[in-house]
Amino acid sequence: MMGSENQEGGEAHLQASREEMESLVLDGDDGRDHIGNSITSQSYANYRSAMTTLSSSFAASHHPLSFPTPADSDPLLSPPSPQPPLLKSPNSPKPRTTATDDPHHLDPPSYADVVSNPLDDNIEANGGSESPSQHSENSTSSFSRSPFSSSDYLEIVVSNPQKEAESSKNSIVPGNNAYVTYLITTKTNISDYGGSQFSVRRRFRDVVTLSDRLSEAYRGFIIPPRPEKSVVESQVMQKQEFVEQRRVALQKYLRRLAAHPVIKKSDELRVFLQVQGRLPLPTSVDVASRMLDGAGKLPKQLLGDSRSVMGPQDVVQPAKGGRDLLRLFKELKQSVANDWGASRPPAEEEDKEFLDKKQWLHDLEQHLTNASKQAEALVKAQQGLADTMGELGLAFIKLTKFENEEAVLNTQRVRAADMKSLATTAVRASRYHRGLNAQTVKHLDTLHEYLVLMLAVHNAFSDRSSALLTVQTLLSELSSLHSRAEKLETASSKIFGGDKLRIRKTELKDTIRVTEDAKGCAIREYERIKENNRCEIERLDSERRTDFVNMLKGFVTNQVTYMEKIGIEWTKVAEETNRYAKETA
């Protein structure tokens, strides 16, 4: 998406000047000013990387644990940068109760509750001390989520990636298959969980399993999509950056799951979070094996083995994920008939409200994509301005030093003093701009979150369509079975019996009965999924409204707060230099 912008001088130069800024000691009129940590930003790469980098270094420099605000609110004085916390959780800004560590991060005025993220990052690996600022309301990854009933919470932290080697005797590929496990620590008060805090180690494969089982169990629900697998996993896994990215993604995913009112109480999730050792969920079998299995059964099915009839227990799952190739073919045939057939399919999606909603969601997705892209560009531009302002300040600081050292005339010293005032303010303003941008990233992240959710909505809708397809297929089958039965009746009334005919009639009656049962099941399943869809869409609507309002409010509030501060700084300099305006006016 966003390639790295090749600044004149390149990234190294940018880093160098930022380090310069960090280590700069300015002799101010107000005594020694130590410019503390500034927010490091790697490059102008894509939005997500910008977000994580900004947020992570932001989190690192705003360690919420017990660093008191300096009483002196001079923005250039800041406490020395603490060690980054053990568990870096880039997506949560510091809790509201901790006052500013870096004065360049400003708490918005009190009416902006949105900036607070109560999520606690400091759960120690050994399940140790509580962080001072634990809120029980939100358990979501993005702070702008609407609060749920404050009575139950489920907080998750993913940390401590470790390489582990799979023992070679079990694996097909000889040699050690290294993989990474992550420590997943959970804090909860939901009764089903029993304990209140616990940890497990899981690998990515387990997450895939969890995700697949949830999709099966919660058809029609808007389930947050899991992080993607990597194509060349073992190669990519070596890199620290990738592992870190994945850790972040996993944490986000689990937190989203924990935010879903139904899924947070699911067995699958609970088992994933709580059960030590091997994950006790049936693993997903890959497509190839399924096909092989299905192909093995196919001949029998084609020969009319009655065990191949779709039974009620089968219809509650979609055809696609299963081993039943015959069913797959039948449903495929049905869907083709639906699309190209002259007659209407036996049952139809009639819910106009649903169709309208689908269209509306399509529009929403388009606009979200656009807005997310523009937000990315905005953040990049804000960062650019902040950085260049800082560089300008640095250049003037150098000039100031130069003039002071080389001064022969007093007027040079006067100029140097004027220049210094401008330079220090420029550096200060630059840091405010950076702070503003870090906050902007957080707020506008909501757009991205909802884009991801749109994907989940598609899945929920396709659950519905495939359930409908199953119903339609069964209906078609039933109608053809019935016509076969009729034919048999007319045939048997003409020809004098015979056992074969009777057997066939009985068999057909059985098949029809089973198929009727299956049809009933399928219809019930379809209705159930429809209802799930409806509830979930309602939930999405109300959450979305809240989240979007909070996003806008947060964005606007931050602009106000930071711009006010920046305005004050520059006004000071303008007043100081006012005499020049009069002189040459």
Partner: protein, 403 residues
Amino acid sequence: MIPTLQRSGSGSTQSPRSPSSQEPFLSVSVIDPAKMGNGVQAYISYKVITKTNLPDYQGPEKIVIRRYSDFVWLRDRLFEKYKGIFIPPLPEKSTVEKFRFTAEFIEMRRQALDIFVNRIASHHILQQSEDLRIFLQADEQTMERARSQEIGIFKKKPADLMQIFKDVQSKVSDVVLGKEKPVEESTPEYEKLKRYIFELEDHLAEAQKHAYRLVKRHRELGQSLSEFGKAVKLLGTCEDNALGKVFSEVGDKAEIVSVKMQREAHHLLMNFEESLKDYVRAVQSIKATIAERANAFKQQCELAETIKFKEIDLNKLRLTRSEKLADAEREYDVLKADGEEATRRFEAIVQLMNEEIVRFQEQKTLDMGLAFHEFAKGQAHLANGIAEAWRSLLPKLEACASS
């Protein structure tokens, strides 16, 4: 001798102020850029208005039309005649075709030309120049004739000019490194000055580079704010009445803020970045004067050498009572006179430069002070404006959030 004139505002875009008293004044402004001609030969012409009560000038007001190369002519003439004085710098010739006629470029150039002429008009020595009078008063044909006759230092190929600068620069470093060359002025103060000028240019160039980038950043941010606003408005179409309206207003506000950004970008460019550029040019002009001084010094030294040798020859001739003695003595006298002239010239340059440096530094403090003031004022205005714009939305957002 015209006494020192009242300083007219440098960089003013208004028409010159009328004087309040009867003391002599000379006030100039460069306005009304107009594109003339077509295609490759197209150029910009400017109106130069002179308001004065000086006897040599056609007063009280005279308007002439001038183009960029006329200004170059004036600068070159002054540089030739007034060695030792820091001639005010001109804006660069534009090499990139497509920028030559953008409104922004034309305005930047006009501003710089206005400042140029005004600085000359307010310099106590330069304002007396005949060339200035011609420039301000002559009709266009006379001007064109004068311009085409010019053979000045800047008519030399740029390579030569660079060579001169390089020579001066290498000589500075030679002395700094201790490799003293005989034909080079090397008093510690002068060395310090040369070093100062060269380093100053580097520092200023860097600052100016960042200033220009800052202008660009403002523009980019303005642009992306505008796009973002549009995207937000679109997103709002998915929402119902109350929320949809809020989205729409946020989008509108983003557009307003975007406009403010663009305005500040322009203000930054004209009032800050250009001032820095002007500072850089001024320093480069000083370097040219330094080169002139080096030339004068070299001439003086060479003549002194020649005179010494001539003396030796003379004495030889005296001893041998040669008939060439009379001629030789005449030549010697001429040489002596030349030598004295060269020394006078050199010392004049030194004297002028000393005064000019002081004048330059003081002027720059004022110029920079104003530039800083404008910068700070612009940034404050922008920040406060943005805060105010967004603040007006907060009550509505608050209401929406709590409902």
